[in-house]
Each structure stands twice: as C-alpha cells, then as structure tokens.
Symmetry: D2
Subunit: 162 residues, 4 copies
C-alpha cells in the first residue's frame, strides 16, 4: 500500500529565521521525520505549496483537491495549517469520492522541542491506512469526519460539532 503525502505548509513546517527573528517556511521536515520514525510505509511525497493556512485562497484549496482527485493513490495524507484545515477538507470532500484522505497539522512547529507534529504524523499515517473512504481531520490522537469538527480557538483543541 502506498500513501500519497501532500505538503501545504502550516505550523508543522515553520522554522526560525535567526537573521530576521521570525518564523518562516524552509523545506518540509517530513522526510527527516519519517526517517526518525523509522517509517517503512511506502510514501510518495510532494510539496504543493508552503503557506500559512490563514493566507490560503480558494484557488489553493482547489489545487489541493485536484491533486487528490488526479493522483493514482487511494490513500492520501495532507499536512496543513490548523486554522483553515476544515475549510480545505470541505473543498476536497466536494471534489473527491472513493478515496481516504486525512488532513493533519501541528499546533507547535516540529523544530520546537515541544511540538505535537511528530505524534500527529504517526497517528495520521495510521489513520490513512485504516479508515474507510472519506475526508478526515486528524489531530489530538483522534480522527474527525470533515463535516463534524471545528478548531476551538480558545483551547487549541479540535472538537466535534455535535
């Protein structure tokens, strides 16, 4: 089984620019993380964009959805900023049928010592292998169907709508 991974940016992949004193996007950390996790799942990784999800446009989301639609793989993992991952999941759900697509992210950049990203990569990779067709958000060790989840901006945790 091959898992297609699409990288779109988000906190997951932010790094610290010591000359400017601010966070920025460099290359994705995912290959290093998969090596550290000693992963042997067959992965095909492609970076689609490197953006903060608050700055993601509808065109960006449609591009992601199209890539999910057109790729050969039936099981897809997307790394994405947490602020608008639910919106992107909706666009994907409107576009793609008959695939298992999980969208994950991180609240703290992977390069920070205390990131949740490595844990989320492990759980999302497992959910991508086992969940039935559908579009899901994976955060906090759990999966949520795309139409029954929101990010609670007070706590930073994801929760079901009903």
């Amino acid at each position: 089984m091959t898992i297609r991974v699409f990288v779109t940016g988000g906190t997951f992949d932010k790094n610290y620019d010591y000359l400017r004193g601010e966070l920025y996007f460099e290359d994705t950390q995912l290959p290093e993380m998969l090596r550290l996790g000693r992963n042997t799942v067959d992965i095909r990784l492609r970076t689609l964009m490197m953006v903060d999800s608050l700055e993601m446009t509808l065109e960006d989301r449609e591009l992601i959805a199209r890539n999910c639609l057109n790729c050969d793989e039936e099981r897809i993992l997307i790394t994405h900023g947490t602020d608008t991952m639910v919106e992107t999941a909706k666009v994907i759900a409107d576009t793609v049928r008959d695939k298992t697509i999980v969208v994950t992210g991180a609240m703290v950049p992977y390069r920070f010592g205390s990131s949740d990203g490595f844990f989320n990569l492990g759980s999302s990779l497992a959910f991508a292998q086992t969940l039935p067709h559908g579009v899901y958000i994976v955060m906090n060790g759990r999966y949520f169907t795309w139409d029954n989840v929101r990010k609670n901006r007070q706590t930073g945790f994801f929760e079901e709508l009903r």
Copy 2:
C-alpha cells in the same frame, strides 16, 4: 471510546542514570508524551511492570495477557520492549478473543532526542482505534498481525514473515 494502555517497560521508557552512567527505568514517560501530543483520546493507563523485554518471563507475559482479558476495555495499547514483543503478542493471542490489542515499542529511548517513540505512540493509538479485533505489532508506521511478523535484528526493522 476508551483505550486501555498497559505499560511494561522496554526501551521506550529507559532513561539515563547520570550517577551510574547507564540506562535504567524510572517512571513511564507516557503521560508526558500524551500531553505533548495534545491527546484528547480517553486513556486509562496502568503500569504492569518495568522490565527489559529480554528479561521478561512467561509469567510476565501471562500477567499481561490476563490483564488484557480481564479489563473492561475492548481496545488496548501495550508498550513493550521490541526484542520479545512478538512472543508476548502470541501469549496474548492465545488468551484473548474479541478485543483489538496493539503492542508497540521504540528502538531509541524517548528521552533521547532522536527517538521513534513519539511517532510510534501516535500511530499505535490510531491503529488501536481503527483495527478490527486481533493482536497486532505496531512499528515503523505499520501494523503487523502477531503471527506474521519478526524483528530483523540486523536492521532493527520489523518485517512480515511471508
């Protein structure tokens, strides 16, 4: 859904004793790891033992299996040393039916910077939520059924028998 977690020791939970200059078991790191992973899955954790899996006896494995049999939860995650996790999985499979039980571990102690443990915790927690009844080894981002897996001692990776 509640996941029952049984801690048995293994590399996962080894720490460095700076007075003796050797690795030892202290308390389990799992609660801290679950907090760092921002986990919101309902977890009931119990430490059954803290041993190197090379020193685990048949009585130890039977104790683990009995705990799996007798606990209320249907979904169980066990942290275990990698050297004999397959043997323990066999004892559990001989004892317990109608539950989903995943056994995971780490090749590098969590307290080392480069550990696979946090990734494995994420993936095993996800597999524990989604796999059908059975006993599984979870390592390297994958799950293996207990009777079709071995640890390759030359590479440190888990692989299918056939």
Copy 3:
C-alpha cells in the same frame, strides 16, 4: 563569588504561542537552563524587563545600567536581545566602573532545539567569573570589549571593529 544575573528578554527567552502562532515572552528559561547545566555557581537572578531589544528605549537601558551600578555584586551577567546589545553595553560603560559586566544573548530561542543559548550561557558565566573589570559582549564563544564590536546583520555573527 556571587554572579548577579539580570534578565531583559531578547530571543533567548522567546517561546511559541500555539494559540496565536507567534513568538512571545513568558517567564525566563534561565533557572531551568542553570539546573540542566548542573550549575553550582552562586547566582542571584532578577528579571528587569522582558522586551525585544529592537523596542528597548534609552530609559530601559538606563534602568539596566542603574541596576548594575547599585547592586552589591561586582560580577554581572545580562541576557539581552542581540540587535541592540552593543548600545546597552555603551550606556552601562558610561555609568558603571569597577565591575565586570558581560552581556549575552541568543540568535535562536532556547526553546528551539537548535539554539545557541545554552552554550552562550555557559561561556558568559565563565567570562563573568574571570574577566577583569569592564563591559563585554559575549557571543560565538568569545568576548568582545563593548567599544570594539558589532553584530554583522548579514551573517548573524559578532565581529571586532578593528
């Protein structure tokens, strides 16, 4: 020998706010760093302010200088943002005689895995114990006298003027 430590903020002590997705100041990391370094030098620590050094005013620098002047200790270590540490060192040198004062900082926040902060704390603490009276910048494993140093903004390294 007691070393007086004054904390003023800077990259050293920045942490990641996962709700806002930006860097901010929380409490200083210094006590934890000194514990991790297994430090047994007698330290008296006081936080004077928690600011980005680009936002530091002349009043702020004079407050720091006055604290150096009025404290009982003869040897002082100041943590400070790197962008204007040389300006603050000048104000201190104009105010205080007969004390050894070292100003240090970090290019990368301590809470990031790849920070120079822990190394800089070690070297600045050592220089504070051994250098003759004067005001110094300590970065990159070296000490510089306050009137013969600048931060090279292209490289992020400190260098002598002549």
Copy 4:
C-alpha cells in the same frame, strides 16, 4: 588565539546503539556542537581516543599529557569522562608547565535531550581563553584547580577538597 581541543571520549560523546540497546562511542559530537553554538573561536580539534574514563590506563593519560606538551598551542581544552578526569589532570600537571589546560566532561550524553554537555563546552571554552597557566577541571559552571577538586559520587557534583 587558537584553542587546541583534544577529545578522549567519556559520557560527553556517548550515543545510543539501537541494535544492541546500549550506549557506545561513535564519532565525537564536538564539531556539531561548535556549529550549533555558532562558535567563531579558532579551534584545532583532534580525537586522541574514545574511551570510558573508568577504562583509561596510565598509558592513556600519559599519551594525553604528551599531546598537551608537544602541541604548539598554549591553551588546551580536553573532553574526558568525569569519573577519572581528576587523575588525568594530575598526570598532565606533572608533565606540562606554562600552558592553560582545562578538562571538561558531561554527566549526561550530549545526544540526550537533558545533557549538561553543551553548557560545559561553552564554559570550558571561555575558561580556556582567560585562566592563567595551570591545569583545571571545568564542571558545573565553575573551574577548579586540579589539586583541589573531587567528584562527589553521591551527588554527581564536583567540589573543592578544602
């Protein structure tokens, strides 16, 4: 000013062998640590041996002392296991005059997240630049003259004899 660095092993440079499940020596971590510390002090590094200091022989200590004697540099930093660093310092002091030689180590391997090694490298590098001729142990943010120090094996801290 050039600092000569001699690597001899010790906890400082121990790494985790995930196939054997034990600590071992690989290459020294010092170049990576100096890069991370953004060090610009001129360093000439040479690995003399990679041994646990409990297994160090008198011949080993004499080899270290001879290297201190014969190298061109006047200022020398030695990384060494903490258990017998005082004995080695004595052999060096019996052999070498007119140089500043600091011996440092770590209680926890650098590759462990919670190591004191990076802090000790910073402070020993600073002491090597500033202390007068003599042989010193640098641990816990302090320097000790070689004939007035011991490792307290109950606490793991270094302390003066009198």
